[in-house]
């Protein structure tokens, strides 16, 4: 049972690795010792930070008293807002809105950090937190975003309303014989990475080193520099292994700035590892959108017009969530060629945890709205739900295709992906099964749900760094500015570099997540990494080969065209009959005091648009309302696939999160703003027992946007699966004339809808 890299079923010898199911290089350590997360790092004389958080959603904060806490055993220090001598965070959307590092004057959501206690142990710090007294006068919270939009009282002084961002539009002409109007709620979700936030800050003279669980270390570094006014050269940010992020760790949170601030203040290493209870209420939430759709179409199945109006819940402070409607807007019309399309949105404040990007970020909301609306349209005109899609897809010949809202889809073949998923699922047989159950008056109705999706990845093309350097022994050192937090970038990028250089991935040292070692970087989010960092490393590897050949031509004083390179057999340079390895090259260059290294700051020209079709089969128990997902089929196309093992892993995880939004998950606040789902015991984080084995296949339509022909695959599952599952449940319930139930489709919601429908019959 020994682990032997030569034992791999694929990628041996003389074949290209890219495209093969090469096993992950990350895994051997992960499965024997476990990965190394921030909470696993050991430091001498470390102090532990615990936060005291607001117990209420809305109040005027009169006083925070830490004096009793300071008297508790093992307490080093305790701080409130008045001790924090850094200016509040000025909001990037609205400069009137300030977010203090610790709550000051007002409490704005349950879970907002109010005070911090530093203890010799975590237990001492937690004990002392109970002795921090918060004195406040309750005020009336605003929890419902619809109410917030109309509220005359604004949550921030100096703001005229609670609307912090808006996109104008919605003047679309209503055309077509049939008009569908509906409201869909994309409920608030907790991202739930298995590892929560964690920060360690250590001081060595002027030098501050911050270890942080984050998706974008260079941007975390910029934030810390900005708020701590520290010289760039005196700050190093390191992300060791990161236990998932799903968008929630893109930004840098106030708590994460406070840890290095306090470490400097106390001149002592400080650590904060959040508990799940604090993570649930203060790690940014996802979704939180209410959409109104109006779809116009003709009875022959042609969709003529589509308008999407969105209210985005930002939570208590406008963070990235406030900007989600912009991403939703890009994908308004989905896979369809529609004459008239428009979009408008407002983003509003509420007394809840701020919303951020969560896997899919704005695109699941767009796909959900149009895919639900198309199903309603099909039902209205009595047409098969696949057929109505085939009638409206953008013609594969028309790519690149510019949508009415201005997105330019690079390439796609939506018909083909739907055809394939129908075949995979045996669609015709499913239809017969469904009808039979209705005829038999079965209490277990079958529902079939289709969703065709297209989404945008690498939505904000930005330069990404990649470098490849020849090091001792003919090994390569590869550095990249993206940041794998579960995706397996070490494996994927090593495969790319190996196929250029011939150097075995086991001889490639891979570096990410260290601002000292990697000169610049953007990070990993928005399914951007392979089409940015991956391409940068590919180019750097290409350049390294060229540089090595140039070096050899100079060194041997022969014409460059006499130097040849082949990636076979570990990479071989040949000049006439002479044959040299990378190891030889390293020695020769070293003798001349030369370093063979190439770097690339690659900027993609445009985003890419992965697509696919998902099909869900559900059984609905009409007596209880419980939905059982029997099967989930998925065809996903993200261009060329670097490694099907990794790509499918991404799809599976996305499908699970997408299905789970449809059936289980919702972060619920009561009307007073108290969270009701603040632990894993209450929040509907799905277990293995909730899912069937997914049946998925990859389709590959290469993009010409980048030379790898790749698009992103990290979020597709969450985008396609949610509407497929809800469409399936509504398909099953169509016998009752039920057209929509908001997610999650809990047993009680489904049961109540059936009950009401039966009564009105």
């Amino acid at each position: 049972m020994s682990l032997d890299f030569t034992d791999l079923e694929v990628g041996r010898g003389e074949e290209k690795l890219v495209g093969s199911p090469y096993r992950r290089l990350e895994d051997p350590i992960f499965i024997t010792k476990g990965a190394t997360y921030v909470g696993d790092l050991e430091f001498d004389d470390i102090a532990h930070i615990s936060f005291v958080r607001s117990p209420v959603a809305s109040a005027n904060l009169k006083n925070v008293d830490v004096s009793e806490a300071l008297g508790q055993p093992g307490v080093i220090a305790a701080f409130t807002a008045k001790d924090i001598e850094i200016p509040a965070i000025i909001n990037w959307i609205n400069k009137v809105i300030e977010r203090p590092f610790l709550a000051k004057d007002k409490l704005r959501f349950v879970g907002e950090a109010v005070a911090m206690v530093i203890g010799e142990t975590k237990a001492f710090a937690e004990d002392a937190c109970e002795f921090v007294n918060i004195d406040y006068d309750l005020t009336t919270p605003i929890i419902d975003p619809r109410q917030s939009a109309n509220n005359e009282v604004s949550l921030f002084e100096g703001c005229t309303s609670n609307i912090v961002a808006s996109i104008e539009g919605g003047q679309v002409a209503q055309i077509g014989e049939v008009r569908i109007e509906a409201e869909f709620v994309n409920q608030r979700l907790a991202p739930c990475p298995m590892e929560g936030r964690a920060v360690v800050a250590t001081i060595d003279g002027e030098m501050l080193t911050v270890y942080i669980s984050n998706q974008a270390p260079h941007s975390a570094k910029r934030s810390i520099i900005r708020y701590l006014s520290i010289d760039e050269g005196n700050l190093r940010v390191i992300t060791p292994d990161v236990g998932g992020g799903f968008g929630s760790k893109i930004g840098t949170y106030p708590e994460e700035i406070l840890v290095p601030y306090i470490a400097r203040k106390l001149n002592r290493t400080c650590r904060w590892v959040e508990t799940r209870s604090e993570s649930m209420v203060s790690l940014g939430h996802g979704r939180g959108q209410i959409a109104k759709v109006t779809l116009g179409g003709d009875r022959d199945g042609k969709i003529r017009s589509y308008c999407l109006s969105v209210i985005q819940d930002c939570g208590a402070y406008p963070e990235i969530g406030a900007n989600m409607p912009a991403l939703t807007r890009w994908m308004t019309s989905g896979c369809y060629d529609i004459d008239s399309v428009d979009f408008n949105s407002i983003s509003v404040l509420t007394n809840t945890n701020p919303t951020v990007a969560y896997r899919g970020a704005g695109r699941p909301e767009a796909a959900y709205a149009i895919e639900r609306a198309v199903d309603m349209f099909a039902t209205e005109i009595g047409m098969d739900k696949a057929e109505v899609r085939f009638k409206n897809f953008i013609d594969p010949k028309n790519f690149p295709y510019q949508t009415k809202v201005g997105s330019t889809y690079d390439c796609g073949n939506y018909e083909e992906s739907l055809r394939r998923v129908l075949k995979l699922a045996n669609y015709d047989e499913l239809l017969v099964d469904k009808e039979n159950r209705i005829k038999d008056k079965s209490d277990l109705l079958l529902g079939i749900g289709i969703s065709s999706y297209v989404e945008i990845t690498h939505g904000f093309p930005a330069k990404e760094f990649g470098s490849v350097e020849l090091i001792s022994g003919g090994k390569l050192s590869v550095k990249v500015g993206t940041l794998s937090h579960g995706q397996g970038h070490r494996s994927a990028i090593s495969m790319i570099v190996r196929d250029v250089t011939g150097v075995d991935p086991c001889n490639i040292d891979f570096y990410q997540g260290d601002t000292e070692l990697i000169e610049s970087g953007v990070g990993t989010f928005g399914s951007r990494s392979m089409q940015s960092g991956g391409v940068a490393c590919k180019r750097a590897a290409d350049m390294l080969v060229t540089k090595a050949m140039e070096f050899l031509s100079n060194h041997l004083d022969v014409d460059l065209d006499k130097v040849e390179f082949s990636w076979h057999e570990g990479g071989q340079f040949s000049v006439g009959s002479m044959c040299l390895s990378w190891s030889d090259l390293y020695r020769l260059a070293k003798n001349e005091g030369k370093v063979l290294k190439a770097s690339e700051n690659y900027e993609s020209s445009s985003p890419t648009f992965p697509f696919g079709a998902h099909l869900a089969v559900v059984e609905v128990d009409v007596e209880t309302g419980k939905v059982h997902l029997r099967d989930m089929f998925a065809i996903d196309d993200a261009g060329n696939i670097l490694n099907p093992l990794l790509a499918k892993g991404q799809i599976h995880g996305g499908l699970a999160q997408g299905i789970s939004q449809a059936l289980y998950e919702e972060f619920i606040y009561d009307q007073d703003g108290n969270p009701l789902t603040a632990t894993f015991a209450d929040y509907g984080f799905p277990t293995a027992a909730e899912f069937p084995q997914f049946r998925d296949e990859l389709m590959q339509t290469p993009t010409s946007v980048n030379e790898l022909g790749v698009k992103g695959i990290g979020e597709s599952g969450t985008i396609g699966a949610t509407p497929a599952v809800v469409n399936a449940v509504m398909d099953a319930l169509s016998v009752y004339g039920i057209s929509h139930i908001d997610m999650p489709l809990s047993p009680e919601k489904v049961f109540s809808a059936i009950k009401i429908a039966k009564r009105s019959k």
Partner: protein, 272 residues
């Protein structure tokens, strides 16, 4: 998260345990498997100052066969209850229900006694004990006492157990009748939204209901004939209308009431 501080004692005999509890002036709390108590302590919803771990006391974790009943030690884990040949033979419902509690790891550590003494109305185990007509054997300063399961629960997370008393064992009549258990959940690891346990005991049908009120609930319905399901449904409906189930994120009180009826009729159909 970390519990508040406490003292810990692990007596080796039941008498030693009693004397510790007596001396602790009501501050002592019995620790069985800890799978109800420790999570509450970590969230600091519970803060006992002395924990009396009874896992080191011999004789509390066996399953014994007596003439007309079996006796299950309070410290038997759910995994043991699920797999014990004696329980599977003489009280198959209990084994069947134990196998569905929590998850695999929880079943190894969580105990039948700890679960019952926690007094949670959402406990599947309590429902099963109601259906089988269990008797609880308790010992303490006022001597050994036996309670019928229906006399044990007094309020939400409250039982008739005195702080100085310890549940020693659960006695179950040997039953050979049919049983069934119907449980409606959101996720497979969630507490039941509602569950119904049925067990034919003699000429009656033992019924245990999970999560339909502040305490676990159960009663016995009379069986006139096997075919008489409509009479049973009617009896049950009447009782169900007086239930006061909780409302929470898993379901409203009204929904739970309706589901109790649905699950009851399914359980009747599925008696095996």
């Amino acid at each position: 998260m970390i519990t508040s501080s406490f003292e810990y004692v692990a007596p080796r005999s039941i008498d030693e345990a009693f004397s510790i509890l007596r001396d602790s002036d009501g501050e002592g709390k019995v620790l069985a498997g800890g799978h109800s108590l420790i999570p509450l302590m970590k969230l600091r919803f519970a803060r006992p100052s002395i924990l009396v771990d009874i896992s080191r006391i011999d004789g509390l974790s066996g399953v014994d066969e007596k003439d007309d009943f079996i006796e299950i030690g309070a410290m038997c884990s759910h995994a043991v209850v699920a797999r014990s040949n004696l329980i599977r033979e003489y009280s198959p419902l209990l084994a069947h229900v134990a196998a569905q509690i929590g998850d695999a790891a929880i079943r190894y550590r969580g105990t039948i006694g700890g679960s019952i003494c926690h007094g949670d109305p959402a406990s599947d185990m309590a429902g099963a004990l109601f259906a089988t007509g269990a008797v609880l054997v308790v010992d303490g300063p006022s001597g050994k006492r036996e309670f019928k399961i229906e006399d044990f629960f007094t309020g939400f997370l409250e039982t008739t157990l005195d702080p100085e008393e310890i549940l020693l064992a659960i006695k179950l009549p040997k039953v050979s009748g049919k049983y069934s258990f119907e449980k409606l959940q959101r996720r497979s690891i969630d507490w039941a939204i509602v569950a119904v346990a049925l067990n034919q005991v003699g000429d009656g049908l033992g019924v245990g209901l999970v999560n339909v009120g502040p305490t676990p609930v159960g009663f016995k319905l009379s069986l006139t004939s096997d075919e008489d399901t409509s009479a049973l449904l009617e009896q049950f409906s009447e009782i169900a209308s007086s239930l006061t189930p909780p409302s929470d994120v898993f379901g409203s009180s009204e929904y739970r009431k309706e589901m109790a009826k649905v699950l009851f009729s399914r359980a009747l159909l599925n008696l095996v």
